[in-house]
Every structure is written in structure tokens, then in C-alpha cells.
């Protein structure tokens, strides 16, 4: 299948069905992920990033449900598939690395036993095949295979996260979905894990969707970058473009929220306020109550996601050109 993208998401909407009414956590998200591509999804807590991942992996459980749209994995729509149909795809072609390895690994089973479970659940393998493959994937992530006998508590946080990634690699899938796999790690372990993921991706050619709230983390690793706010895509483009010329005020705010190690010290403000409650969204642009550039119109008209200079952006003032190219953004990359 040379021309079929690994993943094609179109018009995906996810609702949480609650007593007080439905809450839309993911609103009309579309993207295409080619073979071996790395997509970064960033945004604050509660903006729908993890819900989006769960919807893509078909892991949503009530009260969440896909309200509209489709998720095509290698050309087949996965929305509405039965569990049996999904089981054939899961782990063999698509695997998931969860945020907290501490919670995702079984504390009373050795790493090897958990690898064996995963392999047995998705195919018939002999004992030797399982042992060989388990040792192989562990070596791939730089862990000595003797740790197959170790229990999760005997490994450091970085090693636990890497063994999770090893488990995701058991069947050399085409798509690996990662939900903040590095957020429990310190900077050095985080860095080494990111480099590891990138190396594996380059040598095995799988596509990655990587969710994080720390934009700086993926700046050097992802091909495409999607910025989410309040369930919607605010900006979408190649990582290079988004970092060099962030168009949406929210993206600019995220980019200017990190203190820098180099250059002069500048007072930073971060983004004032909190993301909105999805059940009580503000009228107009969802970001306008926190936006430094908001005008009256922003409170009334909900902006659409439109193409602008090689990127997609959802901002009224950007679209009508009333926000100058560099407004509020003193070239944060050149600092």
C-alpha cells in the first residue's frame, strides 16, 4: 500500500455524555499522518489532547464516545469496529505508550512475563520465539535483557518508561501513540528517552503521535506540530514553521512560557488564566478571554481553521490581517 497514509483522521469529534448535557472534548480534528512521520500534539491540561489520542486508538470508554468523524488506519475506518476486529490491529500494527509507566506496568509481574502476555494475546508463538523477541526489543531500547526477570519497582523511572516503549515495539508496529511518556522523568532521562524514540523511529520507520504540554521538548524531534486549545486545533503546520513563525497568540504564549538558558533574562508572563471549562465555553473565539490581542469581534465570531502561509491557524485577527506578522512576538527564536 504505497499511497495509503498510516492514519487519516477527518472531522473527529468526541463527546462526553453527561447528565448535565454533552461536553465536546475534541471538536472537528482532522489530520493525515504518513509513513514514518512524527506528529507532536501540544496544549495545556484539559484541552483534549489525551482524549484525541484515546479516540485515535479506539480506547474511549463511556461516558466518552466518538460523535462524528472517522479514523482511518491504513485505509480502514476504525470507528465502529468491534473489539475482535480491533484486537487484530492493536499492538501488531498500532501500539500505545502511556503516560505513567508506574501505573501501566503490572507491579506483581516481571517485565518478561508482561511481554509474554502481550505476545500471546496477539499471536501464537513458541516459548523460544517469545524469549528471543523480548530480549531483542529490550536491547533495542538499551536495557540489558537480564531485566526481563526484574519487576517494575526494581527499575528506575527512565528504565520503566523505556521498557514500556520496548513492549510497544514487540510487533514492530506502523504507528506508536505516546501520551506524555516523559513527563515523570527528569531532564537528563527525558532527553535520553527522546533521542532513543527518534533513533528507533528512524531505523524502524513507524509513525508517531506524541502528546505533551512541553513544547520545547519536541521542537527537535517532530515533523508536524498541532497546537490544541479547548478541544480544537488552533494551529497546525510543520514544526519548523510553527516554531519560527507562530501565528496564533496561544502558540506564541506557549512558546514564551519557558525561561531560556541562554541570552538575557527577560521577565515572562506565561499565559494568564486557565483553559475554559468545556461545558461552559466562551462565545466567539475560545481563547479570547486570555488573549492579549483580543478585540470586540473575537468575543462574537468563532474563527475557522484556515490556511495561512503554509500553516493552518484559527485566529480572526490573523485571518483578516489586522494583527501584524510580528505582533506580540519579539522574535522569540532569535533571542
Amino acid at each position: 500500500m504505497p499511497d495509503v497514509p498510516v492514519l487519516e483522521v477527518s472531522g473527529l469529534c468526541v463527546d462526553y455524555v453527561l447528565d448535565r448535557g454533552d461536553v465536546r472534548a475534541v471538536d472537528d480534528v482532522s489530520f493525515t499522518l504518513g509513513r514514518g512521520e512524527f506528529l507532536g500534539v501540544v496544549g495545556e491540561s484539559g484541552c483534549g489532547k489525551s482524549t484525541l489520542l484515546f479516540a485515535v486508538a479506539q480506547l474511549l470508554s463511556p461516558p466518552a464516545r466518538v460523535a462524528a468523524g472517522s479514523v482511518k488506519f491504513q485505509g480502514t475506518n476504525m470507528v465502529g469496529m468491534t473489539d475482535e476486529q480491533l484486537a487484530a490491529i492493536r499492538w501488531r500494527d498500532m501500539s500505545v505508550v502511556m503516560q505513567s509507566a508506574m501505573n501501566a506496568l503490572n507491579p506483581v509481574k516481571s517485565i518478561g512475563a508482561q511481554f509474554k502476555d502481550a505476545m500471546k494475546a496477539h499471536g501464537a508463538f513458541s516459548k523460544d520465539e517469545i524469549a528471543d523477541r523480548s530480549a531483542e526489543v529490550l536491547r533495542m531500547v538499551g536495557i540489558d535483557p537480564v531485566h526481563l526477570k526484574s519487576y517494575p519497582h526494581q527499575l528506575s523511572g527512565g528504565m520503566r518508561q523505556r521498557s514500556m516503549i520496548a513492549m510497544a515495539m514487540l510487533f514492530t508496529p506502523d504507528l506508536v501513540i505516546m501520551d506524555e511518556p516523559t513527563s515523570a522523568l527528569d531532564v537528563v532521562a527525558q532527553r535520553s528517552l527522546m533521542v532513543q524514540i527518534k533513533e528507533l523511529q528512524l531505523s524502524y520507520g513507524f509513525a508517531v503521535i506524541f502528546v505533551t504540554h512541553d513544547m520545547s521538548l519536541i521542537s527537535h524531534f517532530s515533523d508536524q506540530l498541532m497546537v490544541m486549545y479547548a478541544g480544537q486545533v488552533d494551529e497546525f503546520g510543520t514544526t519548523r514553521t510553527v516554531f519560527d513563525r507562530p501565528l496564533h497568540p496561544y502558540t506564541q504564549g506557549l512558546l514564551e512560557a519557558f525561561p531560556s538558558l541562554r541570552g538575557p533574562k527577560v521577565p515572562l508572563k506565561g499565559i494568564p488564566g486557565n483553559p475554559p471549562d468545556l461545558a461552559r465555553l466562551p462565545a466567539g473565539c475560545r481563547f479570547h478571554p486570555r488573549c492579549p490581542h483580543a478585540v470586540d469581534k473575537c468575543a462574537q465570531v468563532a474563527p475557522e481553521l484556515v490556511t495561512l502561509d503554509e500553516a493552518f491557524v484559527r485566529c480572526l485577527r490573523r485571518q483578516d490581517g489586522s494583527l501584524p506578522a510580528e505582533a506580540g512576538h519579539e522574535g522569540s527564536l532569535s533571542r
Partner: protein, 335 residues
């Protein structure tokens, strides 16, 4: 950047904390903190940086008198802390040196309104206040950390992570502290919220003259608020000095490794660079020698036989590294 010399507030001398591990018959000892000496001045934010397991939190706990030091002494305002005997003096010390914890979700009682913690510590530490004065004081500290009056009556689940962490600081402030021990206060928060908390710490220093021991693994955020930096590795201080000096010319190879791991979106997007796969050692019954030598590309024979001690390499800028002390001005282990 030179700052006027500050009056000394707290001095730790040869602070050591060991833990017995294993069963009752085991003679193995974990050296969590080994022979650590440092000072914290008045109106000073000192950042204590290092990887997980380097002993940062143990130091905070020893300073907060949660753990007794195995040996060594802490002097607070010139008086040895180990001499504190009476309940009154103990309460006074813990009021002057309160702690703010890492996890804003686990450090608050979910069944009480957030004001409860503040009122309770006021009752305990400042019994002379009437109920009315306590309430007024609670209003003052909530105001000081940037929380509105309506926040006081809320329950923890109604607050965002950033707001809860502000409550943690309000609780510390209620006791009119001299030194706040902040153990990774922002690491569980979204990047966009972190800056607000960092600004709050700087503001408390500038307006109320409170010193802060800011424990973190994120050197970029340390640079943003701190005056001085102490880098810990495996229970010992690797390097310390004025933060701008240390960051401009890090002398210890470990400091260089930490700096190289910080993601910098403003740096040109380049190849990912080398990955360090090492892990900080668990220091169990250590033999002499530098504890970083297994990960250090510059290690020489002396490193395996003699434990390096801190020596001043530039004004007020110390490092514990044989190679750096041998006069190699251009120690460059990790770019």
C-alpha cells in the same frame, strides 16, 4: 552579575543522612546525602538541582526536621538546630522554615475547604490570634499569592494545579516564614502555569524578604528565579556558585551534562546530539572516588581512588572535580 553580600540565614555543615536498607540483619547503608555544606542568605533564592535520587529532597527534609541528620549540623540564624528541644522552639522553627510540596493533588486534604490548612497552621503557630484575626490573616496570604477572596471557601478539587500550588505557598506564608523549602513546586504543573509560580517566588523574595530553597531538575527555571545554584550528584554537591557564573562557565562535567539536556526551542533545530544513557548510581556503601566517574568522559585515574572535594575555582564558584581542579580551564565534557 554581582550582588551585594547577603546576611547568612541558614548554614549546613557536613550534613549527612544515611538510610539503613534491607532487613534487620542487613548492614547495607544508602548514602542519600554525604557531607554537604552550604549556606542560604537572607532574601536569597537558592536552586538545588540534580536528577531524581541525587538527594535533593532528602536535604529539604533534613532542613525541615522531618529527618534527623546522621551527622553534621544546621545553623539557623547562627544557632544550631539540633539544640532545639522545647515544643515551643520546635514550632517556631517549623514556622520559620515551612515546606511546599511537589504534588498539589496529594498535599491537601480533599474534604476540607482550602482555607482550612491555613487557619489550622495559624492556630498552631500563632495561638495569640483571635478567630477574626486568623481569618484576616488568611485573607492576607491568599491575596499575597494572587488568589481571590472567593477561592478560600473552595474545595481542593475545584482548583487547578497552579491554584493549589499557590494555596501551598499561602499556607507557608501564614507562618511568617524566613525560608521556604520548595520541593519541585512546579514540576507537576503545565509549562504555561509554571511561570506564574516562579514569578510568585521572586515576588515573595522581593517584597517580603523571604528566602527560598528551590529544588528542581529544570535548570532553565532555576536560572529564571534563583540567585545561586547548587548542583547535586549522588548525594554530594558537584558544583555551586552564583547562577549566572555557573551557567556561563560550568566547571563540573555533570553540570555540563545537565545543561546539555535542557531542551531549547530557540536553539537552531539540529541533529539531536549524543544521548547519555547513564543513570545516577544508588550510593550504597560507597568506596572512595568520584561518583560521576562512570558517566564522565574525562575521568582520570585519580577519580577512581580519591573522592573530589569542593574547591573554589572562581570567586564564590566551587566545583568538586579533579580534572577541573587540575587547572584545565576548558573542561568540556558535554556540549
Amino acid at each position: 552579575m554581582t550582588s551585594p553580600p547577603r546576611a547568612e540565614l541558614l548554614r549546613a555543615e557536613h550534613l549527612t543522612r544515611h538510610f539503613k536498607i534491607g532487613g534487620a540483619l542487613s548492614h547495607r547503608t544508602l548514602h542519600a546525602v554525604d557531607d554537604v555544606s552550604f549556606t542560604i542568605g537572607e532574601r536569597e533564592i537558592v536552586a538545588l538541582a540534580g536528577e531524581s535520587g541525587s538527594g535533593k529532597s532528602t536535604i529539604a527534609r533534613v532542613l525541615a526536621r522531618i529527618y534527623q541528620p546522621t551527622s553534621g549540623e544546621i545553623y539557623f540564624e547562627g544557632k544550631p538546630v539540633s539544640q532545639i528541644r522545647s515544643r515551643r522552639d520546635r514550632l517556631r522553627y517549623s514556622g520559620l522554615v515551612p515546606m511546599v510540596f511537589q504534588d498539589p493533588f496529594g498535599s491537601m486534604n480533599p474534604v476540607f475547604r482550602v482555607e482550612h490548612g491555613v487557619l489550622r497552621s495559624l492556630k498552631l503557630h500563632r495561638p495569640e490570634l483571635s478567630a477574626q484575626e486568623r481569618s484576616a490573616e488568611a485573607a492576607r496570604v491568599f491575596e499575597a499569592v494572587g488568589l481571590g477572596a472567593d477561592m478560600r471557601q473552595r474545595f481542593p478539587y475545584e482548583l487547578s494545579g497552579g491554584q493549589r500550588q499557590r494555596v501551598g505557598f499561602a499556607q507557608a506564608l501564614a507562618m511568617r516564614p524566613k525560608l521556604i523549602l520548595a520541593d519541585e513546586p512546579v514540576s507537576m504543573l503545565d509549562v504555561s502555569i509554571r511561570i506564574g509560580l516562579l514569578n510568585l517566588m521572586a515576588e515573595l523574595r522581593d517584597t517580603m524578604g523571604v528566602s527560598v530553597l528551590y529544588i528542581t531538575h529544570d535548570i532553565a527555571s532555576a536560572r529564571y528565579v534563583a540567585d545561586r545554584l547548587i548542583v547535586m550528584y549522588a548525594g554530594q554537591i558537584a558544583e555551586s556558585g552564583p547562577i549566572e557564573d555557573v551557567l556561563a562557565s560550568p566547571r563540573h562535567p555533570y553540570t555540563q551534562l545537565l545543561l546539555s539536556a535542557v531542551p531549547d526551542p530557540r536553539a537552531p533545530l539540529s541533529a539531536a546530539g549524543q544521548a547519555d544513557r547513564g543513570e545516577p548510581p544508588k550510593v550504597i556503601d560507597p568506596t572512595p572516588g568520584c561518583r560521576f566517574r562512570w558517566r564522565c568522559p574525562l575521568a582520570i585515574d585519580t577519580c577512581a581512588t580519591r573522592t573530589p572535594v569542593l574547591a573554589e575555582l572562581a570567586p564564590d564558584h566551587d566545583a568538586a572535580c579533579h580534572v577541573a581542579q587540575a587547572g584545565a580551564d576548558q573542561v568540556k565534557a558535554f556540549a
